[in-house]
Amino acid sequence: MAQLVQALALGVLIGGIYALMASGLTLIFGVLRVINIAQGAFLILVATFTWWLWRVIGIDPIVAAVITTPLMFGVGWLLYRFVISRIRGQAPSMSVLLTFGLALVIEGVLNVVAGNKFRSATPAYFEESFRVGRVLLPKAQVYGFLAAIVVLGVLYLILTRTWTGRAIRATSQNPSAAALVGVGATGTAALAFALGSASAGVGGSILSVLYPFFPASHYDWISRLLGIVVLGGMGSLPGALTGALILGLAETLTATYASLQWATLVFYLVIMAVLLVRPQGLFGARLREDAA
């Protein structure tokens, strides 16, 4: 029983962190219809920068999110204005090509600047745990989870309580109607891309502590994130949260009762099973091609 509770607790902790990472990807798709393949590369870029901040300057990797989040917000805004906006209105497949190219550029730059080797930030609490009864909760995962929950909460408040958030949701749900009430498409899209990139700021900093990474790790991460948002329904934030929790729990339960090697396979089996029944994902809206 204690083993099950331990696995569930770890699954929820990891799921919360995955949710944060996937929220940016699904937000960007929801508003811009851009599939940002570079989101994984953003995470690795930030993780590498966080590792450098921790190793060279001595800043705690999770606290470093205070620096990396606004930085990635700015990077995202600039990328939208000068790169992504050029394919506005094109089919989502164009965005896959463009952002895949962007991911390759980031990977190449990281290879040159940081070198092609595994890294991991290991602060003092890296190997410590909180004990709750018979359950052990690794401190790094607890801190990462708390940071993720805070950021997801702030994102939720921005989307539901501010005019900027309403404009983003309006554009996501009905772009032409949003234009008719005076919501500027370009400004809103840039903000959505910037917010999505900012989530990779926090996510990358947390990743640097929890997982070893190297420049090409972004392929693994974008696969997981795409899996989460496809399972949840493209463009749906509640879907991303649910998909992330399912991935977290699938990983920890499989690792506990079978082997860690099977964890990813189990998650993709879950995706396939769900998509057979609900091709639009758990929370996605089904579009008729002839009515779209």
């Binding site: 005019w163 404009a167 309006a170 749900q173 234009a179 008719l180 005076g182």
Partner: protein, 247 residues
């Protein structure tokens, strides 16, 4: 009040509108009728700035609007209720209506006052304030769409097929609302497939066919014009735009 002169516009390589001239005087209700593909909805898109015209001009009370962004056109007092699916289905009715006041969002008092006015005028806004707009019936959605437009207290209201998909009771409610808005001073330009309903509501009528204006005049003149039967029942189109003679 609102004047289109020689407007040519379209999508991709073709021109849907081919030199449209149109004038809506202040406090009138003008109804554009015509068969499918005549370019009626495209006229509204050009006026609200969703589609740029390739030639010609659009003026609102003496100001050229054809090069302005939709947001700037809204600020001049022109709002549009599109043909269908104009709401944000995942948001509440209140949020949908409030978004109509996006341009006045920084003036909280004005926003609150307008919302109260709209709520008093259109009961469904108060009754279903916290319900998701996606759960409303067709008639209720139409009312909320109009309510959203009223948040900016428009001078000109553009309505694209307000009767589309409505049951008779909802249709009557929408028609009453259009007439009361016009009585309060709003200029209305509507596009309608239902000729009898549209021209019944309107003070003036415009008949379009093949991207051109074929007939203009008072609603009664247009409704009773012999060419109306030709345009709707087939036969060769008239050679040029003409104003229906007074009956």
């Amino acid at each position: 009040m609102l004047t289109l002169s020689g407007v040519t516009a379209g999508y991709g390589g073709g021109n849907v509108l081919q030199g449209v001239d149109l004038h809506c005087a202040e406090r009138t209700v003008t109804c554009i009728v015509g068969p499918n593909g005549a370019g009626k909805s495209t006229v509204l898109k050009v006026i609200s700035g969703l589609l740029r015209c390739r030639a010609g001009s659009v003026e609102m009370a003496g100001t050229r609007t054809d090069a302005l962004a939709p947001e700037a056109i809204l600020r001049l007092g022109i709002t549009q209720v599109p043909q269908s699916q104009a709401l944000f289905p995942g948001m509440s009715v209140r949020e949908n209506v409030l978004l109509g006041g996006y341009l006045i969002r920084r003036d909280r008092k004005l926003l609150a006052r307008r919302y109260d006015e709209v709520r008093a005028r259109i009961p469904v806004v108060a009754e279903r304030a916290h319900e998701h707009a996606g759960n409303l019936s067709g008639g209720q959605r139409r009312m909320v769409e109009v309510a959203r437009c009223l948040m900016l207290d428009p001078k000109v209201l553009l309505l694209d097929e307000p009767s589309l998909g409505l049951d008779p009771k909802s249709l009557a409610a929408v028609a009453d609302l259009i007439q009361s808005l016009n009585a309060a001073g709003t200029t209305v330009l509507l596009v309608e497939q239902n000729v009898r309903l549209g021209l019944g509501l309107a003070t003036h009528g415009v008949v379009m066919e093949g991207g051109k204006v074929r007939l203009t005049g008072t609603a009664a003149q247009v409704r009773d014009h012999p060419e109306m039967a030709t345009l709707y029942l087939g036969g060769p189109p008239p050679a040029a735009t003409r104003t229906a003679p007074a009956t």
